[in-house]
């Protein structure tokens, strides 16, 4: 069996499962946030009763992150609904906006706070919950009904997915990042290329990446329609997880000779920086092929592109330069935001590098990745042409119907911010 099949079998109480089989599995962690939490709570109460208790308050993690820095009254009302529910149910893992516990983007916060552990089953009311596959666990996004069902029962039915394997041989050259690898894959297989399947990322190119870069890979499995992304556990995974949780966990490996739906192999050294053109993550082009395409906005942020690794990569290029396009920097979490002040390149903090380049630095949250209320930091409100480290460039995804969004790695976004045109980072790298 594959990693995914083994995790699902174990959580179904079976010795074996086959791809395509429907099984009921037990849940280790359920995560929800301010967008889907109120609806989930509504469904839970409707079906289990006004005074119902969640199946296990220790296993529920609530991370408001989407609409935090807005004047929108309903957005604040929704966070209040979460606050009330947490109090009523005795849920400890709540990261409360406006207090010291506030974290920001749920997928990065889950990892930082030790809620992502090898071998476990994590469901979240957000499609990018697949990010946590980077820790060798089964993690996927669900809707309010499924989450409401889990709140009451701790269980859910899933169809066991087949696994597509993507192997990156060799290590990445200095101008490539995980975002280039995943945009390469999505360009090859299409936005429906992995529907209902697991995407496993393997090879030296993947295992030489730090955990944040691995999260970027798994984060975008959903952009190819994947049910989950997964990467086998190694010392890098164990070091990260053990530093953040004392909970025991079980590492699950692929069985020798396990069956894959397909295997695709890449030579990491031969790949080049890529960009996804409007309005779909599979509209891949080489960054150099789009050389000269004018942009009016650059954006570095989100669960997939707002981690400290992303900002270090961007800052190396922005250091000592001025941006020619309006540039927005949005740390995923408060921990990343704090590191912007402490992480230094040649004695200058990333925060200083960004502000001196003319970029605007915002507060930790999902911000403009999904548009959001009109007053959201960095939102596209007109005919902007934006190059962004986020994960989706569907029509109007970042706010305006007239806007266009190109997806790229933090290096390519920073290089493009400096020139005001889409730019291969090799052109500006020292």
């Amino acid at each position: 069996m594959t990693i995914t099949e083994k995790i699902l079998a174990k959580h179904a109480g079976k010795t074996r499962v086959e791809a395509g089989e429907n099984v009921w599995i037990s849940v280790d962690v359920l995560m929800t946030h301010d967008i889907c939490g109120p609806g989930t709570i509504g469904i839970f109460k409707e079906h289990f009763g006004k005074n119902a208790r969640v199946w296990d308050p220790e296993k529920v993690v609530i991370i408001p992150d989407h609409y935090i820095y807005t004047a929108d009254a309903k957005a604040h009302r929704n966070v209040d609904i979460l606050r009330e529910f947490v109090k009523e149910q005795g849920i400890r893992h709540f990261y409360n906006p406006g207090t010291e516990t506030y974290k920001g983007v749920c997928h990065v916060a889950l990892a930082e706070e030790g809620h992502t552990r090898p071998g476990e089953v994590l469901f979240g009311t957000d499609s990018h919950t697949c990010t946590a596959g980077a820790f060798g666990e089964f993690a996927t996004g669900i809707g309010n009904t499924d989450a409401g069902f889990i709140l009451g029962t701790g269980k859910l039915w899933v169809k066991v997915p087949q696994t597509m394997r993507f192997v990156f041989e060799g290590t990445l050259p200095p101008y490539l990042m995980a975002k280039d690898l995943i945009l390469q894959v999505i360009g090859d297989i299409g936005v429906d290329g992995a529907v209902y399947r697991t995407m496993e990322f393997a090879g030296e190119g993947v295992h030489s990446l730090n955990i944040e870069e691995r999260m970027t890979l798994c984060n975008m499995a959903i952009e190819a329609g994947g049910k989950n992304g997964v990467i086998s556990v190694d010392q890098t995974t164990l070091d990260y997880v053990r530093a953040r949780t004392s909970k025991p966990f079980e590492v699950v490996e692929n069985d020798p000779g396990c069956r894959y739906y397909s295997t695709r192999t890449y030579d990491a050294k031969k790949l080049e920086p890529v960009v996804a053109k409007p309005h779909s993550p599979d509209r891949r082009a080489l960054a150099r092929e789009l050389k000269g395409t004018a942009i009016t906005r650059a954006y570095i942020g989100s669960c997939t592109g707002g981690k400290i690794t992303d900002f270090i990569a961007g800052a190396k290029i922005l250091k000592g330069r001025s941006v020619k396009a309006e540039t927005f920097i949005v740390p995923a979490t408060t921990e990343v935001a704090a590191k912007l002040r402490t992480e230094k390149i040649d004695g200058k903090s990333l925060f200083e590098i960004f502000t001196e380049s003319g970029a605007k630095v915002g507060e930790a949250s999902c911000a403009a990745c999904l548009g959001g209320p009109k007053d959201t930091f960095g939102r596209l409100n007109g005919a902007e042409v934006c190059i962004s480290t986020t994960n989706r460039n569907f029509p109007a995804r970042m706010g305006s119907m007239e806007s266009q969004v190109y997806l790229a790695s933090p290096m390519t976004v920073a290089a493009s911010a400096v020139t005001g045109k889409i730019t291969d980072p090799r052109e500006v790298m020292a």
Partner: protein
């Protein structure tokens, strides 16, 4: 689950994502509150670019200006319907707008699960692409049990794939009633 769904069809292309079905700035409405739940029907599919609004013509709004619901009962679409976010507000919005079933080549998995487990609409799959066989506004009739979709305007009919695993959940009404029965 009703056996026959009849009314006007709205036709869409491939990869209709959840941001097009219900743009993110409307997600501040809470579906658990009845007055706010209704708003999702009003804004259903308002994120479609003009050219995609009602194929093959385009520029046909799914919900008329100032209306609370759509005049369409059924959607025929291409591949990967409902891709993107996990927002259950997407099948909810279609249901609130008056849609009872979608017929697509295949679905993004979270949208599919949400439609079935929440009992919002019936997500039928078609073995052959039907986008070019229907025009927005035509009269259609879907026989749910036999899985036959009729285009009454053109007097044509098409067999759909059996509902399979999801039929018992759809018949029960939603995942709660299904699990309760088991």
């Amino acid at each position: 689950m009703e056996n026959k769904i009849s009314g006007k069809v709205y036709v869409l292309g491939n990869d209709i994502d959840t941001d097009q079905i219900i743009p993110a700035h409307y997600l501040t409405y809470n579906p658990a509150i009845p007055e706010e739940r209704k708003m999702f029907g009003k804004y259903a599919l308002c994120g479609l670019p003009e050219a995609s609004q009602g194929l093959p013509f385009g520029k046909i709004p799914f919900v008329e200006k100032d209306a609370d619901r759509s005049g369409y009962k059924l959607i025929v679409a291409g591949k990967n319907f409902g891709c993107g976010s996990s927002r259950e507000h997407a099948p909810l919005a279609l249901q609130q707008s008056g849609i009872e079933a979608v017929v697509a080549e295949f679905y993004a998995r979270i949208f599919f699960r949400n439609s079935v487990n929440g009992g919002y609409l019936i997500p039928f799959e078609t073995p052959a692409r039907l986008v070019e066989k229907f025009k927005t506004g035509e009269d259609v009739e879907l026989d749910v049990r036999s899985g036959i979709l009729k285009n009454k305007t053109q007097n044509t009919e098409f067999p759909l794939k059996p509902l399979g695993d999801i039929l018992p959940i759809l018949e029960a009404g939603d995942i709660f009633r299904y699990a309760g029965k088991k």
